[in-house]
C-alpha cells in the first residue's frame, strides 16, 4: 500500500471530523472541499482517472461553489453551538456513530477475511484496460454503448432539476 494513499486517507478523515465539530458553516464547507479533493486524489492513485476528473470538476468545482455561494447569499456566520447545549443528544449521537462504524468495520473485516475466495471477477483487468486505450476510453465506451439510455435519462433529470431550482428560487410563497 502506498504512503500517499495513507496520507490522503488521514487528511480526509481529520477534515471529516472537523466538519462535525466546527461551528461555522464556511469552515465546514472548506473541510468538505478538502475531503472531496482528497477523494479525487485517491481515485487518481488507484487508476480511476475519469472518475477523479469528474469528482474534481463536478463535486469540488460546481457543487462546492453552490454551497459557498449560498453561505454568502444567506449571510450565515457562526451558529450558536447546539452541540454543547444538548450534551445528552450529542453523546447518544456519538454512541450511535460508534455503533454504525463498528458494524461497518466488522462487515469489511468479514468480507476481506472470509469471502475473498468465492469472489466473482469481471473481465476488465488492468492489462485489458491498458490495451483498450486507458480507463477514460473504456468507461466512455461503456457509457455510450451499454448504458446510453441511463445516460439520456440522467441528462433529462439534470434539466428537470435545473428548471426546478430556478422556479423554487424565484417563487414567492405566502
Amino acid at each position: 500500500m502506498s504512503i500517499v494513499i495513507i496520507i490522503l486517507c488521514a487528511i480526509s478523515a481529520v477534515l471529516a471530523a472537523t466538519m462535525l465539530f466546527t461551528k461555522s458553516p464556511i469552515t465546514s464547507a472548506l473541510c468538505l472541499l478538502g475531503v472531496l479533493i482528497m477523494t479525487a486524489g485517491i481515485y487518481g492513485l488507484i487508476g480511476e482517472h475519469l472518475i477523479a476528473t469528474i469528482q474534481l470538476v463536478v463535486y469540488a468545482g460546481a457543487i462546492m461553489v453552490l454551497f459557498v455561494f449560498s453561505i454568502m447569499l444567506l449571510n450565515l456566520n457562526t451558529s450558536d453551538d447546539d452541540l454543547k447545549k444538548k450534551p445528552a443528544i450529542f453523546a447518544i449521537g456519538l454512541t450511535l456513530g460508534l455503533g454504525v462504524f463498528s458494524f461497518l468495520f466488522y462487515a469489511i473485516q468479514e468480507h476481506y477475511s472470509n469471502h475473498q475466495d468465492n469472489k466473482v471477477m469481471g473481465q476488465f483487468t488492468p492489462e485489458l484496460i491498458a490495451s483498450l486505450g486507458g480507463n477514460s476510453k473504456v468507461l466512455a465506451h461503456a457509457l455510450f454503448s451499454q448504458f446510453y439510455v441511463s445516460f439520456e435519462v440522467i441528462s433529462l433529470a439534470l434539466l428537470v432539476a435545473l428548471v426546478a431550482a430556478v422556479v423554487l428560487a424565484k417563487r414567492k410563497v405566502n
Binding site: Q55, Y59, I89
Partner: protein, 100 residues
C-alpha cells in the same frame, strides 16, 4: 492491509461522520453538506470494490450518482433560499408551520 481495505475503512468513517452531521446539526446547509459526505463515502466504496473486482459497473454508477448529487444540491439549496426568505433563518427548528 492493502489499499482496498484502507479505502473501505475511510469510506466507512466518512459515512459515519456524514450520518452524525445529518443527525446532530441544526443548520439545513450543514445537513445538505452531510448528505454530500454520505454520497461521497458511498462513491468511494463503490469505486474501490468495482476496481478490485475488475468491473466497470461501479464506476458507471458513481458517474450517475455524482450527476444526481449535483441536481439534488441545486434543488436543496434553492429550497433553502426559500426557507430563509419565508422564516428568516435556515435552522430546522424555525420552520414550524406544520407543527400542531
Amino acid at each position: 492491509m492493502t489499499n482496498e481495505i484502507l479505502i473501505q475503512l475511510l469510506a466507512a468513517f466518512l459515512f459515519t461522520m456524514g450520518m452524525l452531521i445529518v443527525l446532530l446539526k441544526r443548520d439545513t446547509i450543514m445537513i445538505l453538506m452531510g448528505i454530500e459526505l454520505l454520497l461521497n463515502a458511498a462513491n468511494l466504496s463503490l469505486v474501490a470494490f468495482s476496481k478490485s473486482a475488475n468491473m466497470l459497473e461501479g464506476q458507471i454508477q458513481v458517474f450517475f450518482i455524482i450527476t444526481i448529487a449535483a441536481a439534488e444540491s441545486a434543488v436543496g439549496l434553492s429550497i433553502m433560499v426559500n426557507l430563509y426568505r419565508n422564516f428568516g433563518s435556515i435552522k430546522t427548528q424555525s420552520a414550524t408551520t406544520l407543527k400542531g
